[in-house]
């Protein structure tokens, strides 16, 4: 007998639709990115997507899972786009491929595939590559020495030598290095006044990418793809920690707005800590998860050796998720007013 089960009605939703909306929310950021450094980012996204889908197809066929169903779910594409956007835009192609392969093969499928991975695959890719190739992962294009598309392409494909003059540090890195070189004699204000690197409220140009991520994230929230808890807690954490140190010594610590719109803050808040699979699932758990990730990210970013700390912070918090979820189970219907 053909066995059917209620409910016989379902909402028109699918994993694919969720993932497509996440991709759509990334589009404003990508558009600003293209305006900032050119269409090379689209090439990087294409490379990451191709590598991710190939790895996904390979793993699926190895595990004898239905290829069409899972390749089309869009999850590997989301991972790929996040990798491409988190990596330096002029990184050599193989670096992106290594990241994508590691994310899909190890971080995703070796842990059981879609829905089973305890760690955020894109952040695993970032962490693995920044530990293994710190120099390449720290080279960001110098915006005032903008290269043409063919030059950029040659860099990505590795057919031209990488020249130091063409790359720089991220705004966060630039600030940290300048403060270190200044040995207490220089202030954040004077460093940020340098129009070479810094814009209106954060990194020159990059601040607008962050604004675009914020808009995309708000759209996801409005579409109920994500809830407000984790992004709010993450951004609140950034503001709280950076604000406290900034008030304590404004000369040595950048203000909260700078931190909100620098590095991976906005991408992390709306596209990384909101990952349902590797993040916390309860409302209170999401708050704890987001806030703690922000604390760690800020500490690593300001006091650590890496240019940014979002990836490590998120991975560290991923480990804590089962515990957080266990202790933040919301009370159920009828059980709220327990004495």
């Amino acid at each position: 007998m053909n066995f059917t089960t209620p409910p016989y009605l379902t909402q028109n939703v699918s994993v694919q639709r969720v993932m497509l909306q996440v991709l759509a929310a990334l589009l404003p950021g990508i558009a600003i990115y293209v305006w900032l450094i050119g269409p090379i980012i689209l090439v990087q996204i294409a490379i990451a997507t191709a590598a991710s889908l190939l790895a996904e197809a390979f793993m699926l066929s190895l595990l004898k899972k239905p290829l069409g169903l899972f390749l089309g779910d869009g999850s590997a594409t989301v991972t790929a786009w996040l990798i491409a956007l988190a990596f330096p835009p002029l990184a050599p192609w193989w670096l992106i491929v290594v990241g994508a392969l590691f994310a899909i093969v190890v971080a995703k499928h070796l842990y059981g595939g879609l829905g089973q991975n305890p760690f955020n695959p894109a952040m695993i890719a970032f962490a693995v590559c920044i530990v293994s190739f710190p120099a390449l992962m720290s080279q960001w294009p110098a915006l005032d020495r903008q290269a043409g598309f063919s030059e950029q392409l040659a860099l990505v494909l590795g057919t031209a030598p990488r020249l130091d003059t063409m790359s720089g540090a991220t705004p966060l890195d630039a600030l940290k290095t300048a403060l270190k070189l200044g040995e207490g004699n220089t202030t954040v204000a004077t460093i940020l006044a340098d129009a070479h690197n810094f814009g209106y409220f954060a990194g020159k140009g990059w601040e607008w990418v962050a604004v675009a991520y914020l808009l995309g994230g708000l759209w996801l929230w409005q579409r109920r793809i994500i809830t407000w808890h984790a992004p709010f807690a993450f951004l609140a954490g950034i503001v709280l920690f950076s604000g406290a140190l900034w008030l304590w010594d404004p000369a040595q610590f950048a203000n909260p707005v700078f931190h909100l719109f620098s590095g991976g803050s906005m991408l992390g808040a709306f596209f990384i800590v909101t990952d349902p699979v590797s993040g916390s699932t309860t409302p209170r758990g999401k708050l704890i998860f987001g806030f703690s990730a922000a604390a760690l990210a800020y500490l690593i970013r300001v006091f650590g050796g890496y240019p940014d700390g979002v990836a490590f912070a998120v991975l560290l918090m991923n480990i804590c998720v089962p515990l957080i979820d266990l202790y933040t189970q919301p009370p159920i219907f009828g059980m709220k007013s327990k004495p």
Partner: protein, 559 residues
């Protein structure tokens, strides 16, 4: 205006209710055959009181309630009983159930109906009448109503909720009943109010049924009652008893409690209506209003005799040619009927003809991505994805830690799941596994107890036998010592006389006999507490036993 509360979660499926309320309630024609299952409610299985060949009248008791939590079943019309046998039930399992098959004679002749003034009766008597009239929850749960009509001893009954929520899409049987027979509902609710001594009566109706709200308000006013008729926001499952109680009173009844313990009780509108018919008109529950809708030419509500074969019933709606299935109940909590041979029962509130375009085949199941959409819509604020995880892993203890028994199986979680996981099925699976394990454990415990009792009995019998032998030996010895004339008397008399004679001679044996007698009394006492397997037999079984006994009697006489 009463302040309304909110329940968390819920979904808003397309109501699709309009097509079936365009016409008034139709009276379904008498079918050629009625198949009346005896077990139509929660609780015990009523015993058949008729057998093949019996003539029955409309309203005649054909299945008697076998225990307190049980409900009587009646002949829906007059006619002849063709058989009392196992027939296919309107149940997803497709299993048969003991049913009374009646061939109507077309006269529809009633038994004598005795209207009652319930205010002059003991409440206990009114509850008995309701049980023997077959009044059960007609919202679909078919819980015997009389068992819900007692207030908790220590908690005053603050509110009686009359549920006209009807939140399932497609379904309109309560809507149309409220529109057309509001006064009966109000009068029935009055009976419930008096039995429960409820302070207030609140009638909750989803606000997508303005006609029903108006009709109920008018009836309340006309009858001079002080009931409050309240339109509640339309959101599935607002018509769930616990959700409606929450919305109207703010009280949340957990799975571990019964609502009277919190001073509230809830009845469906159709139940109130049938209670009024039963008490005030002496008419037991013989029919109900059923919505016939979906992929049919003529969607409509019908008043149908219980036991009407579903194939006869659905023909009334003229199903379209691409109909590929029939659902009983709503599309959220109903089930696909295994066969239309099954009859319509008290639980049948709605029959939906389905087609591939109306209910498309489910999309392939994907892994859970822990998005939490299910938790957002769960009206009991559970974490369905966690329960799913553990149910799938057969870690049933964990599912209970995540309160699986608070799940009302409303289907909201499956409705929103982007991975198209049949979550409710997983939860039903887990629940039934837990139940069957508990049953097995209870059975094992009972078997152990039986084994121990048997051992005890064997030992006792051995001891008694030894006792008898010893006594017989003692008696023989006594006879030898005694003069021959009294000896012959002792030998011809019964054993007790012999014992009496022997007793003074053997004090030890007497003590033992006293112990044996005490143990025998204890055993008899135990047995009288345990129900015998000769109780609660059907007419057929009793007949069979009588035949066997009749065959055995001459054989025994020959011996």
């Amino acid at each position: 205006m009463l302040q309304l509360f909110k329940f968390k979660g819920g979904v808003k499926p397309d109501p699709k209710k309009t097509p079936s309320v365009q016409m008034p309630i139709g009276i379904a024609p008498l079918p050629p055959l009625l198949i009346v299952p005896l077990h139509q409610s929660i609780g015990g299985k009523p015993n058949p009181l008729v057998e093949a060949g019996d003539r029955v009248l409309k309203g005649q008791l054909i299945g008697g309630a076998d225990q307190w939590l049980s409900s009587a079943v009646h002949a829906p019309t007059s006619g002849t009983v063709l058989a009392v046998e196992e027939r296919l039930a309107a149940h997803p399992s497709g299993l048969p159930t003991l049913s009374v098959v009646i061939e109507p004679d077309g006269r529809d002749a009633w038994i004598e109906r005795t209207p009652l003034d319930y205010t002059a009766l003991e409440p206990e008597r009114v509850r008995e009448i309701l049980r023997d009239s077959g009044v059960v929850g007609l919202g679909g749960a078919v819980f015997p109503s009389h068992a819900k009509l007692a207030a908790a001893k220590s908690v005053p009954m603050d509110e009686l909720i009359i549920n006209g929520g009807e939140c399932e899409p497609f379904m309109t049987c309560d809507d149309i009943l409220m529109r057309e027979r509001a006064e009966g509902i109000v009068l029935g609710s009055g009976i419930f109010r008096d039995l429960l001594k409820a302070r207030r009566v609140l009638v909750g109706i989803e606000d997508n049924k303005p006609e029903a709200v108006a009709a109920m308000k008018a009836a309340v006013e006309k009858l001079g009652e002080n009931f409050e008729v309240i339109a509640v926001p339309t959101r599935y499952p607002a018509g769930g008893a616990k959700q409606l109680i929450r919305v109207l009173t703010g009280k949340e009844v957990p799975a571990s409690k019964r609502s009277p313990e919190m001073g509230v009780q809830c009845f469906n509108v159709a139940t109130a209506y049938t209670a009024w018919r039963a008490i005030v008109h002496g008419e037991p529950v013989l029919s109900r209003i059923v919505t016939l809708t979906g992929n049919v030419e003529q969607p409509r509500n019908w008043e149908v005799l219980l036991g009407t074969p579903l194939k006869d019933f659905v023909a009334l709606g003229k199903p379209k040619s691409d109909t590929d299935r029939y659902l009983m109940g709503g599309p959220m909590m109903g089930f696909e009927l295994p066969s239309l041979e099954a009859p319509l029962v008290k639980a049948t509130n709605c029959i939906i003809a389905g087609s591939p375009s109306l209910f498309p085949p489910p999309a392939p199941e994907m892994p859970c991505i822990r998005c939490g959409a299910c938790a957002d819509v769960c009206p009991h604020e559970l974490q369905p994805f966690e329960m799913y995880w553990f149910a799938r892993a057969r870690n049933f203890g964990k599912t209970q830690e995540y309160n699986i028994f608070d799940c009302i199986e409303c289907g909201c979680c499956s409705y929103v799941c982007p991975s198209h996981i049949p979550l409710v099925q997983y939860f039903r699976f887990a629940k039934s596994e837990i139940w069957s394990r508990e049953r097995e454990k209870n059975m094992a415990d009972a078997a152990k107890a039986r084994f121990e009792l048997r051992n005890e009995r064997d030992e006792r019998e051995k001891a008694e036998k030894a006792e008898r032998l010893a006594r017989a030996a003692a008696a023989k010895a006594a006879v030898k010592k005694a003069p021959p004339e009294s000896g012959s008397e002792a030998l011809s008399g019964d054993t007790s006389v012999a014992v009496a004679a022997a007793a003074p001679l053997d004090a030890d044996a007497a003590k033992k006999a006293a112990i044996a007698a005490a143990m025998e009394r204890a055993r008899q006492q135990r047995e009288s507490v345990q129900p015998k397997n000769t109780e609660g037999l059907t007419v057929a079984q009793r007949k069979e036993i009588a035949e066997i006994e009749a065959r055995r009697a001459p054989l025994q006489a020959e011996e």
